[in-house]
Amino acid sequence: MDNVKTPVLEISSISKKLGGRQILNNITLNVYPGEVFGFLGPNGSGKTTTIKLMLGLLRVESGSIRICGHDVTDDFEAAMGYIGGIIENPEMYRYLTGRENLEQYARMYGGIGPGRIEEVTALVGLSDRIDDKIAKYSLGMRQRLGLAQALLNRPRLLVLDEPTNGLDPAGIKDLRDTLRELAHKESVAVFISSHQLAELDLICDRIGIINNGILLDTLTIEEVRNAGSGAGPLITVEIDPSTAENLPPFLESYRTDDPSKLTGQTEREKIPDLIYALCDSGVRIYSVSSARHSIEEVFLSMTSEYAPGGRS
């Protein structure tokens, strides 16, 4: 990761109380141009509150949030010029058409012509239905329109709160492609909050894990994959269980409860030798795969490790 770049989003020591309850506790994190940042946490962990603070919907009472160098509280208008977002479900004016809704928001920026509206509409694949009333939209279509309105002002920071709600698998794939393109080609920083870990796994460059208002850790996707040890990738070998007795002694530790499966960690360079050794000793191999760590594993291990008290 290129830490020389100036962050698009700087959250410093944010704490937030709502109705006497501590929702966020001393959150600090940066998001950089061109990266997709996954913000993970169970329901009620403070994801949406963080996003609302970033978008000025809640008051920042301690700490600060800066977007492209502009403080959200002191320089609200400038900060909002760089950000686009969906918060919770993207609720639109049901009595207006999709286009009319986009026009509403376009007018609030100024300098956004009909061309840009066509552009974002096409980008989210809504061109056919853009002149229908929102009342006739499915949840998935509303999500797409939500993304369209967030992109209207060509934001440097795109904030998406549970963006895959209501999307079908094809829609989720489209969204993934769009976000990746935006991030990697146009250097947009994407901040996605979700509790749907499998989706983030496929798209995020970096994740932050939040639980009970505490940011437990931020990790690059590489760090996630290699979580557990520094000894290289995890591999899984599928074998004929009847030949398992031939296993060389140095691979005894690879045995699992399943007699047809061997797993273990090894350096990348040693994998071909390992396969030779297995073949030599007469173990019949059906497949060899590298079993990478998933965000889910990391997430579950961290949230259970730190729940409920957490670290301060």
Binding site: L55, L57, R59, E77, A78, G81, I87, L96, R107, M108
Partner: protein, 619 residues
């Protein structure tokens, strides 16, 4: 790439809000209903007028015949005579081809009706179907006339006029009492009603009827007015002579209280005569329509002048001994103050009336079947209807954004919240303005179509800063529109404030509407409280929920109520007058109301901005 959000102005935001308001189905339905009502209300009231007129014009007088025979069967011949009198008088005008609303009928119908009825009663007695005594027992108004005729012909017997019996009882010597319309009218002269007497009474009544019928046939409005002018001029001359004789008497006893008081009254009366004579002469010379606005205004000028003349306080000793006065007023000071106040009002009313007659500026409610009055009342209805809809729009404005969740996507734009809320306020005002403009245009066209242009373009009479003045129609209408609008602003701004603060649409709409209803009742309560002596209430906002009440002129009181006497300034009458819409001369003022309504509205709007700016969007 979007750099900054600066320099975009509020206009695009207002455009957004206007689209949001006008594209909502519910608002569209309201607006359609509003537009429809603009057409329906004038049509409906016109239709109602026509129906009412038709009912009164096509009254089936023959139904009186049934009533007459009904009363005859029941042996109530006074009642029978009463309806017979009505039937005959209506028939008389009908046969002459004059309607009941003709000038002649307006002047003479009542007296003819009474005389016919009395003559019919006499006929019943002559026919032996009933007796004078029986008629008197169950009198429907004929006895007074019979007794008057008897008194004029014979004088009343001493037994009647002199109940103590120390006069010339039963001699038949004419002894007409001073007040022949008082005592004599109610006297029981049963014993003296002989057939001969009846014939004489019958002849008398018939002569009187013939006299009136003659007047009806030869009626000339100018002569009618001339007679009244002549009456007043005679009055003037005789009062002048009276004054002279009192001056003479005062030379002999210069300290006579009664004489001094009477002198003062006469002096004032003579002072005021100019106005009275001017008003009546104006009627005579212009040949004004009987019962028209000039007629009503002239009569009001006369009444006001007479009140101004009568405002001479008695001295404190007389005040103490007069039970009527000391009962009506707390002390002598209150009494003299009330009199001075009453005189001030009367003089203001008189001057307003004179201005109206001289300049031809019509005072409100003096023109029958006025297209202008219809236009103004229909416009007032339209304004309150529009306020109802605007209250709904204002109450929905911010609350619905919270309700639907759209507030989240609205507030994350590079726009100050103040600016967003201001755009909502302005959009509501623009929609309201458009509704009022539509109301103005449609109502104008509708009333022009239904009533004709008539007096649609006339100026209106106002009274402010101590003098009367006329305002040309369009300015006057805009002023009235603004005053109605201002009366309704607090409710609308409350709806808006609640919409921001409570974020619940039903509450934001319902509470202002309920409060509005409550406040219009409050206005009445305040007027009553004021007349009971709680004067400070006129300086609170409570009585000002409808400002149009405070736009009347001092003249209105005299046109509507015929003026107040000295003892008329009691709590009860004052309350009645204020309720009737005449507040001239009280502590209530349009300016106080305007200031209060502006202040309340500003407070609500300001509060909305403060709350909206600080509000966190938690849900």
């Amino acid at each position: 790439m979007m750099k900054t959000a600066a320099g975009k102005g509020i206009r695009p935001l207002i455009a957004n809000e206007l689209i949001k308001i006008t594209k909502q189905i519910s608002v569209r339905i309201f607006l359609i209903i509003f537009a429809a009502l603009l057409i329906i209300v004038p049509l409906a009231t016109r239709g109602l007028d026509l129906i009412i007129n038709r009912i009164s014009f096509t009254e089936d007088y023959d139904s009186y015949l049934e009533l007459i025979s009904l009363y005859e069967e029941n042996g109530d011949f006074s009642g029978a005579a009463f309806y017979k009198g009505r039937y005959e008088s209506y028939a008389y005008f009908r046969d002459l081809g004059l309607g009941n609303s003709s000038v002649e009928a307006s002047v003479y119908l009542d007296s003819l009706r009474e005389l016919y009825s009395a003559r019919d009663a006499v006929e019943y007695i002559q026919a032996g179907r009933c007796t004078y005594g029986k008629l008197r027992e169950n009198d429907w108004g004929q006895i007074r006339i019979i007794n008057e005729c008897y008194a004029e012909a014979y004088g009343l017997p001493a037994a009647v006029t002199d109940p103590e019996g120390d006069g010339n009882e039963g001699t038949g010597v004419p002894d007409v009492p001073d007040d022949k319309y008082g005592e004599a009218a109610n006297a029981d002269i049963s014993d003296y009603i002989t057939p001969e007497v009846l014939v004489r009474i019958y002849t008398d009544i018939s002569a009187k009827i013939a006299g009136i019928e003659n007047k009806v046939r030869n009626f000339d409005i100018r002569v009618f007015y001339s007679d009244r002018v002549a009456d007043e001029e005679d009055n003037y001359a005789s009062e002048k002579i009276q004054l002279q004789s009192i001056e003479e008497a005062l030379k002999i006893s210069p300290k006579d209280k009664d004489l001094l008081y009477t002198r003062e009254l006469l002096k004032r009366s003579l002072e005021q005569k100019d106005s009275v004579i001017f008003a009546l002469t104006h009627l005579r010379d212009s040949g004004s329509e009987f019962g028209g606005w000039e007629y009503k205004t002239a009569l009001a000028v006369c009444a006001a002048s007479k009140q101004a003349a009568s405002c001479v306080p008695v001295d404190s000793e007389t005040f103490e001994t007069d039970p009527n006065l000391s009962q009506s007023f707390k002390d002598y000071k209150t009494y003299t103050k009330a009199l001075a106040e009453s005189e001030k009002q009367a003089v203001a009313a008189r001057d307003t009336g004179l201005y109206s007659l001289r300049r031809g500026v019509v005072s409100r409610d003096t023109v029958d079947d006025s297209s202008r009055a219809a236009f103004q009342s229909h416009l007032a209805i339209a304004v309150s209807l529009s306020a109802l809809i605007v209250t709904v729009i204002a109450g929905t404005s911010v609350a619905s954004e919270h309700g639907s969740g759209t507030i989240r996507l609205l507030l994350i734009r590079p726009r100050k919240r103040t600016c967003i809320l201001a755009s909502k306020v302005l959009a509501i005002l623009i929609v309201w303005g458009a509704m009022l403009a539509l109301a103005f245009a449609v109502t104008f066209v509708m009333d022009a179509l239904l009533h004709g242009f008539g007096d649609l373009f006339r100026s209106d009479l106002y009274y402010a800063f101590g003098r009367p003045f006329g305002v040309v129609f369009i300015l006057s209408d805009i002023a009235m529109l603004f005053i109605d609008f201002l009366s309704l602003l607090p409710a609308v701004s409350l709806a808006f404030m609640l919409s921001v603060a409570v974020r619940k649409t039903p509450l934001a709409i319902a509470l202002p509407l309920i409060l509005n209803y409550f406040m219009s009742a409050m206005q009445m309560i305040c007027f009553i409280a004021y007349s009971e002596g709680i004067k400070f209430i006129a300086y609170t906002p409570l009585p000002y929920s409808d400002l149009s009440v405070f736009t009347g002129t001092p003249l209105d009181r005299f046109i509507q109520g015929g003026g107040t006497g000295v003892s008329g300034i009691t709590a009860g009458t004052l309350a009645k007058e204020i309720l009737g819409g005449t507040v001239a001369g009280t502590d209530f003022s349009l300016l106080t109301g305007v200031l209060w309504m502006t202040a309340i509205t500003s407070a609500f709007v300001l509060l909305s901005f403060v709350i909206f700016k600080k509000q966190q969007v938690k849900s």
